[in-house]
């Protein structure tokens, strides 16, 4: 039993990962040197995926690290911290990430929608965790700060092809409905 008291610190999160349902990395951000090389990171991701993709059980201990996770359709979200870390703090980060994305993607949290909004994901994670420190835990705030521009791109900035394309899309969608 380890009686090490935690060094009080704001550095809570060791990594944030998003994998697809083949275990491939869609997003990975490591905040400390636990897995310094890409090779080690990928090996860790494979291990994490093989242990978690079949069960929907929210939390696990892997390679001496606490992993909280959540899956939705074809996406797996992970937040990783030290095994001494307060599990609920990690959970707060995971929930914030998921809820922010859920709002940004209009409840459509799946791989395709996410890949089409990668910049939104990059900005959201940047607002939630900064260098391992929890920056924000309220999804409303995160969405507000990311302030992802909607579809209303000023027409002056669009090319003719783009305008035509979007017009075509709109017609297609109206027909489909």
């Amino acid at each position: 039993m380890d009686t090490v008291t935690l060094e009080p610190s704001l550095y809570t999160v060791k990594a944030v990962l998003i994998l697809d349902n083949d275990g491939e990395r869609l997003y990975a951000k490591y905040y400390d040197g636990t897995y310094p090389s890409v090779k080690e990171q990928k090996a860790f991701e494979r291990n994490i995926f093989s242990k978690t993709h079949r069960t929907d059980s929210e939390i696990a201990l892997l390679e001496g690290l606490t992993v909280v996770y959540k899956s939705n359709i074809d996406l797996f979200f992970y937040v990783i911290g030290s095994s001494h870390e307060n599990e609920l703090m990690l959970m707060a980060v995971l929930n914030c990430l998921f809820d922010s994305l859920s709002q940004m993607l209009r409840r459509n949290v799946e791989r395709r929608a996410l890949l089409e909004n990668m910049e939104g994901l990059f900005l959201a994670v940047d607002e939630i965790v900064d260098g391992g420190v929890i920056l924000e835990s309220d999804p409303q705030q995160v969405v507000h700060r990311v302030a992802l521009r909607g579809e209303d791109v000023p027409y002056s900035e669009q090319t003719v092809t783009q305008v035509l394309q979007s017009a075509k899309e709109q017609i297609k969608w109206s027909l489909l409905r």
């Binding site: 009080p8 939390i59 900005l123 900064d130 929890i134 700060r145 990311v146 669009q158």
Partner: protein, 869 residues
């Protein structure tokens, strides 16, 4: 191209990844459009996203290409597109370590951080601090101070967190911002509060008084942020530990009060802090345990996990404190999260009773394949501990362990199981056969060489003595056919042991050996040839010497090849001598055997003494040290002089080493020696006095005694001892001794030499073989009644300590509820004669003991029997 990456491109079909097969060079090529005017924000945004995506996938960017892309990107600051600008900040952060001259964006970022757009300000601060060094930091110091106290929370938080990152690099600069951080700590925003507290602690953590003041202030004023509370609890418990303050301190009260916080995160943090405190009493733990108990029934898996993990920790030290939660833990053993279920079960195994073991084991075996190796090892350890606690449950455990062995798992996990099974086999003779069967099955498909050789060695040791040894042969020979060299060699050694002990199996073993002699590996061939030759002699003595009780290295995977080849040659050369009496062969090998035996038990301590004694001229020519006894106290504790004696036995002499300590600070002793008066025909040859014995510095004096040669049976003797010395009084302050002294003496307790001092312990792994090897040439038997002894345990303990011999075959453990027992003892008598004692004990109104002694020398047998009687 635009179409290809358009957001609304539905044609590409589901499951496709627009970022798949991205070529770094192609993306960098595309990045040239950054230089086009007017800037197309949408396309540029896409390209930046691709670059960040590639970086995120671990793609390596060279300095040149990164710098080029970075400089192109700086042009995008001209666009006012919000998302594009934010992506520029991200690119700056991602490339800060790859690209050169990133500082050229400083002015753009400084402009954004002080600008009107709140959306830009926070991220700009963070990007700026990422590329700033200490000298530049001073240039933006004014802006940072303003930002920390900014009323927009995102700006303030960004500035605080960035400052925290900078503390490592520029402590002295950031230290000047303490007042601003202090102001931010009283912000209404919960995150700002948290970040400010974190920064303040970091700046003050080396100043315990400041930390204490800060804690005092915040614990009184109260905070809004649960994160900040968690931080406060950690700071408080660290301070408690450092100052070793008692649990009545206000800090402890604060942590305890947090157990009633409305946020679960804070409550859990407080409970966990209390549990992890050293020296917590059960009463102090109680409130923490009861909140954890509540969490056990939470619908949130993370909370249940956290609670049961912490309870598991409590159970290690205070199982009774957790007993109250048993019911809640019971509910968790069917939890869908296997980590939670495992922790609940292992906790229950620690706190529960014997009756619940069956049920728990059944439960855990239903899902053990789903949990990670870390937890599997935890489970095996719990079982191992349980087996010692409840030995009667071994059949349940054994079953469970064998199932676990069959599952996939890493080396650590398998080793834990194998070790656990082996320890059960050793503790419980009844479980031996099932255990061996499970292990046999395991090595059929075992990829770990270390484990395979370990099990083969165990099979060789235990297998031949089971009721049906033949069934193990198949398993062992399969290894010879299928495995790597080290395993094959171990299998050959194990086979030899079967052949040596089971006459009816010998012919088949010899056939198998013949096959092994054609192995492709030298080591395996050598072993096979060696054992083949030994086995063909069909002589128990040879078997005993070279197969069972031979060098223990035989079982190790990396065997000293040369030594074995040498031995093989020896045994081959001994073949023509096969018809000569055994005793002659023994003399041929005697140098090997006797020089090895005394070294085996505890060489380190004896080696040290041997070296010390060899340095004294009087003791040269005594030969090698045969045995060194434990120290015997010759004075009461806390007397003026403390003397203890260590007895060193040589072939014909004994050396008594007296370790003396002078506990009087006003005396210096000189010429210290112990005069000895023997009761028997022992002759004191020499005294080696200790020249000086100052206060509290131990010194040694020696006596050399010759053992009586004409009467070898006189092994026991009593010496009356007197300490003689010259006293010089000292000044207790300066320690200066007077010039004149006077002789004095001090009577010590009598020193006994017993038969145990003449016998060195030797472990014979296979007692029966050793028994046959020594033979019955000098066997004697006698029966004694031990009237004063009431139990078999006591009798066994007495005999072992009296004779000073090594119990073999675990015969020193008397099974419960038995009326008779056989004790096997082995040793070497002074001069190098093997002694074996078989002692049958029967309990009936006192203990009756029938002692049978065998040795290679008749006098030794007489000595042992005489001393017992």
């Amino acid at each position: 191209m635009i179409k290809k990456f358009d957001k609304k491109d539905e044609e590409s079909g589901s499951g496709s990844n627009p970022f798949q097969h991205l070529e770094k060079s192609a993306v960098l090529q595309e990045a040239r459009i950054f230089n086009e005017t007017p800037i197309n924000p949408r396309r540029c945004l896409h390209i930046l996203t691709k670059i960040i995506y590639l970086l995120n996938q671990g793609e390596h960017f060279g300095t040149m290409e990164a710098t080029e892309a970075f400089f192109a990107m700086t042009r995008l600051f001209q666009s006012n597109d919000q998302t594009l600008r934010r992506m520029c900040y991200l690119t700056i952060k991602e490339m800060a370590n790859i690209s050169e001259d990133v500082i050229i964006v400083t002015s753009s970022l400084t402009k954004d951080m002080t600008g009107k757009e709140d959306v830009y300000r926070g991220p700009a601060i963070r990007a700026l601090c990422r590329i700033t060094d200490t000298t530049m930091l001073q240039a933006i110091e004014r802006y940072m101070k303003q930002a920390i106290v900014d009323k927009v929370p995102s700006v303030s938080s960004s500035a605080l967190v960035s400052s925290l990152h900078m503390v490592k690099m520029s402590y002295d600069v950031v230290k000047r911002w303490v007042n601003e951080a202090q102001e931010a700590a009283s912000s209404d925003n919960i995150m700002v509060q948290y970040h400010a507290l974190g920064l303040l602690y970091h700046l003050r953590k080396n100043d315990r008084l400041a930390v204490s003041k800060m804690l005092n202030k915040f614990t009184k004023s109260g905070l809004k942020s649960p994160f900040a509370y968690c931080m406060l609890i950690r700071i408080a418990s660290k301070l408690l530990e450092e100052t070793e303050a008692g649990h009545d301190s206000p800090l402890f009260d604060f942590i305890e009060s947090c157990l009633r916080n409305k946020h679960e995160m804070v409550v859990y943090e407080a409970a966990s802090a209390i549990v992890h405190m050293p020296n917590c009493t059960a009463r102090e733990l109680a409130p923490a345990v009861s909140v954890l108990q509540l969490f056990c029934s939470s619908p949130k898996a993370a909370l249940r996990y956290a609670a049961v993990r912490t309870l598991n920790k409590v159970a290690m030290k205070h199982p009774s404190a957790v007993t109250a939660c048993n019911l809640d833990l019971e509910n968790l053993i069917t939890d869908s999260n296997r980590s939670i279920a495992t922790l609940a079960i292992t906790t229950l195994l620690k706190t529960g009773s014997e009756s619940s073991v069956d049920r728990l084991m059944k439960q855990i075996s239903s899902f053990v394949s789903e949990i990670s190796d870390e937890f599997k090892v935890v489970v095996v350890q719990a079982i191992s501990a349980l087996c010692q606690k409840y030995p009667r449950k071994h059949s349940v455990m054994m079953n469970f362990l064998s199932n676990m062995l069959r599952d996939d798992g890493g080396f650590e996990y398998k080793r834990a199981i194998v070790d656990c099974i082996i320890s059960i086999i050793e503790e419980n003779p009844e479980s031996k056969e099932t255990g061996l069967a499970h292990l046999c099955e395991f090595i059929e498909d075992c990829e770990h060489t270390v484990l395979a050789t370990k099990i083969l060695h165990l099979l060789g040791k235990e297998g031949p003595r089971t009721p049906s040894p033949s069934k193990y042969i198949r398993f062992i020979f399969n290894r010879v056919v299928l495995e790597s060299e080290a395993v094959r060699a171990a299998a050959v050694s194990a086979l030899a042991k079967f052949g040596a002990q089971n006459d009816d199996l010998l012919p088949s073993v010899l056939v198998l050996m013949q096959r092994c002699m054609m192995d492709s590996d030298d080591e395996v061939r050598d072993r096979a040839t060696f054992y083949m030759n030994v086995l063909q002699q069909k002589q128990k003595a040879l078997n005993a010497a070279y197969i069972f009780n031979g060098e223990n290295t035989h079982c190790a995977p990396s065997l000293n090849l040369r030594a074995l080849v040498e031995l093989t040659r020896l045994s081959v050369s001994s073949v023509p001598l096969a018809n000569t009496p055994i005793t002659e062969q023994k003399t041929e090998f005697a140098p090997v055997a006797t020089s090895k035996l005394p070294e085996k038990p505890g060489p380190t301590r004896q080696d040290i003494y041997q070296e010390q004694l060899a340095a004294i001229p009087e003791f040269q020519g005594l030969g090698s040290l045969f045995k060194t006894s434990e120290a015997v106290q010759l004075t009461e504790a806390e007397t003026e002089y403390v003397v203890r004696c260590v007895k060193h036995t040589f072939a014909r002499h004994m050396v008594f080493q007296f370790d003396c300590t002078n506990t009087l600070n006003d005396q210096l002793l000189q010429k210290v020696m112990v005069q000895m008066e023997p009761s028997e025909a022992y002759e004191v040859l020499h005294y080696v006095p200790a020249a000086n014995l100052p206060y509290s510095q131990p010194g040694s004096c020696y006596s050399l005694v010759r053992l009586p040669e004409d009467d070898p049976t006189a092994v026991s003797c009593t010496f009356s001892c007197t300490l003689k010395y010259l006293v010089k009084d000292c000044d207790p302050n300066t320690g200066e001794p007077d010039d004149d002294g006077y002789d004095d003496e001090y009577v010590l307790e009598d020193l006994e030499v017993t038969v145990a001092d003449h016998i060195q312990k030797v472990l014979k792994p296979n007692f029966a073989a050793a028994w046959d090897e020594v033979g019955d040439d000098f066997e004697k038997e006698e029966t004694f009644a031990l009237a004063s002894v009431r139990t078999l345990d006591e009798a066994v303990g007495n005999i072992i300590s009296f004779l000073g011999m090594q119990p073999c075959e675990r015969s020193d453990k008397v099974p419960e509820n038995k009326n008779s027992h056989i004790l096997f003892l082995a040793g070497v008598f002074r001069g190098g004669h093997d002694v074996l004692v078989r002692s049958r004990l029967a309990l009936a109104d006192g203990v009756t003991m029938q002692v049978t002694v065998r040795s290679s020398d008749e006098t030794v047998v007489d000595i042992i029997l005489a001393s017992v009687g």
